[in-house]
Symmetry: C2
Subunit: 374 residues, 2 copies
Amino acid sequence: MAAAFTFEPTAEGRARLGRLTTAHGPIDTPQFMPVGTQATVKALTPGDLHAAGAQMILGNTYHLNLRPTAERIARLGGLHRFMGWDGPILTDSGGFQVFSLAHLRSVDDDGVAFTSHLDGSTHRLTPERAMEIQALLGSDVAMAFDQLVDPGQPRTEVADAMERTHRWARRSLGARSGDQAVFGIVQGGVDAELRRESVAAIAALPFDGIAVGGLSVGESKAEMASTLEVVADALGDDPRPRYLMGVGSPVDFFTAVERGIDLFDCVLPTRVARTGQVWTDAGRLNLRNAAFLDDPAPIDSACACEACRGFSRAYVAHLFRARELLAYRLATLHNVTWTLELMRRLRASLAGGAFSGLRASVEGAFARPRAPEA
Amino acid sequence: MAAAFTFEPTAEGRARLGRLTTAHGPIDTPQFMPVGTQATVKALTPGDLHAAGAQMILGNTYHLNLRPTAERIARLGGLHRFMGWDGPILTDSGGFQVFSLAHLRSVDDDGVAFTSHLDGSTHRLTPERAMEIQALLGSDVAMAFDQLVDPGQPRTEVADAMERTHRWARRSLGARSGDQAVFGIVQGGVDAELRRESVAAIAALPFDGIAVGGLSVGESKAEMASTLEVVADALGDDPRPRYLMGVGSPVDFFTAVERGIDLFDCVLPTRVARTGQVWTDAGRLNLRNAAFLDDPAPIDSACACEACRGFSRAYVAHLFRARELLAYRLATLHNVTWTLELMRRLRASLAGGAFSGLRASVEGAFARPRAPEA
């Protein structure tokens, strides 16, 4: 097996502490993967990511295959070498992007035909091609190709997409490259029965890990929690790592970890950073707020990132107003560092019995309604 | 005196090797100052600037006083602390920006009234206010307030602006802050007689350094060289540091150093970097050229910057096509590093008698017509 996973249960519900081992190094779980859509976590270098504590990052099959193309990256030595990141990489399969670009694609049982958002050229993704692209990229963990639908669609459409996802899961495994781990994806919207059926189908296959797809796409927090509960019940004591796709908000981490989730990815911390929203132990701060223009304190005095060690809120707030490139870099570096540090504290709290206290503190800071100015 | 300068002549024309000492550290001359217009050298941190070998940087009175304002920077501890740069800083006086924004201003003998390019608000710069702003910023070297005109204007206009510059020079000195060095600015367009008159007026005043303004604004290379020759002749053995404002192209450094110039600043290396143009020992490369998309070599294999140590031309070319923020950062870091390393090599060549060889090599790489694709 290309990736080995060991974990131990904790005293907190289904939460577990684990370690995923890959050829490019280990990942302590629960863990968050910063997203490097176009072979870069926006504004950061691999050195920044190491300094921020990143262990594993995510790359996007859809984007990388359109530009610079998987074949070009393979000629240049693979994605690790291309982007200069020597740690583990997980690649998605393109399913989510195809879902997001609904008006540009058509789906049949063979795969998806779509129009490039870059130049209007036509392309095709199938389970076999998605696996081939990921093999060319050389990621440590490849994702099976899946079909995602809006969970608010009629049940028959959700069920159809789920069943297609199961057929594509088998084809993805059949096309796997020998040295990559492959994770299967559970679909089924927010329907408990479909989710149980999907877990049964996916967990029966020899995947190296199980991902939960189709969440964080517009459903309520309660629906996300109850769906994760159903999936956790259905997985039982399945020993493989569990990855909740597309989730990256501080409160959601706790909801999911309690339900047995080990891995997360999301563009949220990096995307909001570029708008001036930074995450701290006191919650969200919007650096575009005029009050910060005179604030000599660092973004978060408890944070050890380069932005907090070297600069004031006043300075970063000025950079945002002046639309300076350094604004996006410093805010991104801070949010990635803070998020990865939160995961480290979350793991420590699971080991030390302080999970509830940490969750209450993060919920207090992040779940409260935002002040009009903040 | 707030800044001390010592130099020794070399075997190369009027070229000299010197050291300018400030409260924030020494500057080896000839030296280039990267430009931090809005309290940041675009895309870079102070740590990047130190790693690139920067000794002194430039800040802009006009921009900083409009946003975030000099008073705010002073309340936050001054420009060094605000931007996190602990090395020497030179601030310009705003004269050049007022010249660039010709349609937004009116000049009289007291000073300049202008409309902010940011919000249309009205402002006033006078010699006294320009010096006050620079004292609030707390730069190591302040520049006298001058009036710059297009050297192609009628001679009476160039002469009028020069004479006003001389009156403003005296007022600038009268408004100086005790702990700042102040450099005067020689004007006079490309008219030899006016330049001689301006040197006589400015060099007679107790400035800590002499700047040459009004060049690199559209005149020919031959006009720049002959004007520098006139200024050098007129300055004779004046022992103060000489600063050529707004010049930063590789070939121009040699032209100016041979004519006794010690200091340079320019946005050129950072501005062109953000368009994909990088400077190397082989000349300019345009990373938007399709050929680089498959080039596994670093930007410049002889360069030790983070961009050249960690990434291929193919990767940076991809980042430019994808409009990724990291593109601007890596190309800027490279150009600043390469330019400062060129100045280091230039100083070494003056010490070691290899100046002509280095000049020929840089002229060969940079003065040739650009290939259509490069």
